[in-house]
């Protein structure tokens, strides 16, 4: 499957996240002052407003917070991909991100299920983080 390029949306702030996917790593920001993680990346810690934020590798493990099986879409580049499962994932580190659930039938999905990250699909020169049921 081809995913539309994200090159035009890249900037210095978000690029480290996508660069890390080339090595199949999921990275998020960590604040060394208040010891919280955050996602998406920002120039400051959104909790304590310190500028001591740095990129760290996440465990890639988490829980399924919610999901929606997209059966019809008006987004032209995704019309050939339906059905696909858009998911919100709560990582162990305490941040939430949007992703896909893959390797699972719709009927087996449930909120709260343990999930882990995979890097299979290519999105331009990067890999697209997706999640599968935890083994």
């Amino acid at each position: 499957m081809n995913y539309p390029s994200i090159t035009h949306l890249l900037n210095d702030e978000n690029k480290p996240y996508f660069e890390a996917t080339k090595d199949q790593k999921l990275v998020i920001q960590y604040c060394s002052v208040c010891h919280t993680h955050q996602f998406y990346p920002r120039v400051l810690c959104m909790n304590c407003f310190s500028d001591a934020v740095q990129w760290v590798e996440a465990s890639g493990k988490g829980k399924l917070y919610s999901y929606s099986v997209v059966k019809k879409t008006f987004i032209p580049e995704y019309k050939d991909k339906v059905p696909y499962i858009v998911a919100l994932i709560d990582l162990e580190e305490g941040v939430r991100l949007m992703s896909h659930m893959v390797d699972i039938d719709e009927g087996d999905l449930f909120v709260g299920m343990e999930v882990s990250v995979v890097f299979r699909e290519q999105i331009g020169e990067y890999k697209l983080p997706q999640f599968v049921p935890a083994k």
Binding site: Y3, N14, F18, V69, V70, K72, V86, M98
Partner: protein, 379 residues
């Protein structure tokens, strides 16, 4: 905040042509609605000192529509927070009037999204961390909230469908409604699923249309031809832009905006006679009914099944037919207010709710992102 209550009134409220209006542009629609709203109360264009507008209809919203109508305001506010913008405008207008900055404000909105065959909002929020996953915007965001609500509280598709069917029952009594043919729970459930758990008929209409509201001070309201509909309470907030950044997908900003509006009005949910809440999707309604205190968190689905929200029932809700069946030109918030004003004035014919003295309107914008509440009352 209580001193702001009842210091201003809505004296004019009007729609433009609604539905499919291919021969008119967004400025015509707004100006026509503005003229109707001013004419009904007897105020003139020259009385308008403050202008409010929102939406994707222009780059500088108030600047553009005020030029079109040749108004040079002394107060201008293009607060654009999605579907709840107009409820926020009302709060801002009350503050300006209370501060003595102006007497009369005009709020307008217009959209030709149906005839343009484009939903401006559907592609603008393409964020690098969400866009690669192809979530239909905004529908997918509401679907994620609906799934979470179902999983946490056992809410069912039948309960969501009741919201759509009740809206249609009201629309059947509204000659201005776009969809007036019969609709059953089964038809909603059998309509195709776009993004689970939401079906096509869980989604609002896509129409053209415009609206206008005229607000004026207590003193000027006494000189108007229309019965003043007092602004008792207002509140506003926003919580996130991206659906992945929402803290709890079963709790919206309506808890915050509603609390503030109730405090300003000095009343409680049980004293509200008539409710108009944003129905972009059926789930939106359940979340607001809970967050605005009409039932406990998680009980929205059972509430719409157990109380009767259809015409003749004990909980009159979205009496115009709402965004699901009356009209939905992109941002629906102004139409919540128009319907509430007409109901409180007793102008609603077959769908008139008897003896309604207070109404609550709640707008919601983005992907459950912004919420603004307005509580209205008549003498």
């Amino acid at each position: 905040m209580k001193h702001l209550s009842r210091c201003a009134a809505i004296v004019g409220a009007a729609e433009s042509d609604l539905g499919i209006v291919p021969n008119k542009n967004v400025f015509q629609l707004q100006a026509e609605a503005a003229k109707k709203a001013l004419d009904e109360c007897g105020l003139k264009k020259s009385d308008v000192e403050a202008v409010f507008s929102a939406g994707p209809h222009s780059y500088l919203q108030t600047v553009t529509i005020a030029e079109y109508m040749k108004i040079t305001p002394k107060y201008t506010d293009s607060t654009s927070i999605g579907g709840s913008s107009f409820e926020a405008h009302i709060g801002h207008a009350v503050a300006g009037i209370a501060a003595g900055l102006f007497d009369t404000a005009l709020i307008t909105y217009g959209s030709t999204q149906r005839s343009d065959s484009s939903r401006p909002g559907s592609r603008i929020e393409r964020d690098i961390f969400e866009a690669p996953y192809g979530m239909p915007f905004p529908l997918g965001g509401y679907a994620l909230a609906a799934q979470r609500h179902m999983s946490m509280y056992g809410t069912t598709s039948e309960q969501l469908a009741e919201v759509a069917v009740a809206a249609r029952e009201w629309a059947k009594l509204n000659p201005n409604a776009f969809k007036r043919d019969p609709l059953t729970i089964e038809e909603v459930l059998n309509s195709e699923i776009i993004a689970s758990p939401l079906h096509k008929l869980d989604c609002c209409l896509v129409t053209d249309g415009g609206g206008a509201i005229v607000i004026t001070s207590k003193e000027k309201a006494k000189q108007c031809k229309t019965e003043p509909i007092w602004i008792l309470g207002t509140g506003e907030t926003h919580t996130h832009m991206h659906i992945s950044q929402m803290d709890d997908h079963t709790v919206t900003g309506a808890q915050t905006s509603g609390k503030r509006a109730y405090e300003m009005a000095g009343i409680t949910p049980s004293e509200i006679d008539l409710v108009q809440v944003y129905d972009s999707f059926t789930i939106t309604v359940l979340l607001q009914l809970e967050d605005l205190g009409f039932c406990k968190k998680g009980e929205g689905g059972r509430f719409v099944q157990n109380r009767n929200i259809r015409p003749g029932g004990d909980f009159p809700l979205n009496t115009s037919g709402g965004g699901l069946s009356y009209c939905h030109p992109g941002l629906f918030g102004i139409f919540l207010i128009i319907e509430a004003v007409r109901q409180l004035r007793g102008e609603c014919g077959d769908r008139q709710v008897k003896n309604a003295k207070t109404a609550l309107c709640n707008g919601m914008g983005g992907v459950l992102s912004s919420s603004s509440t307005v509580i209205l009352g008549r003498d």
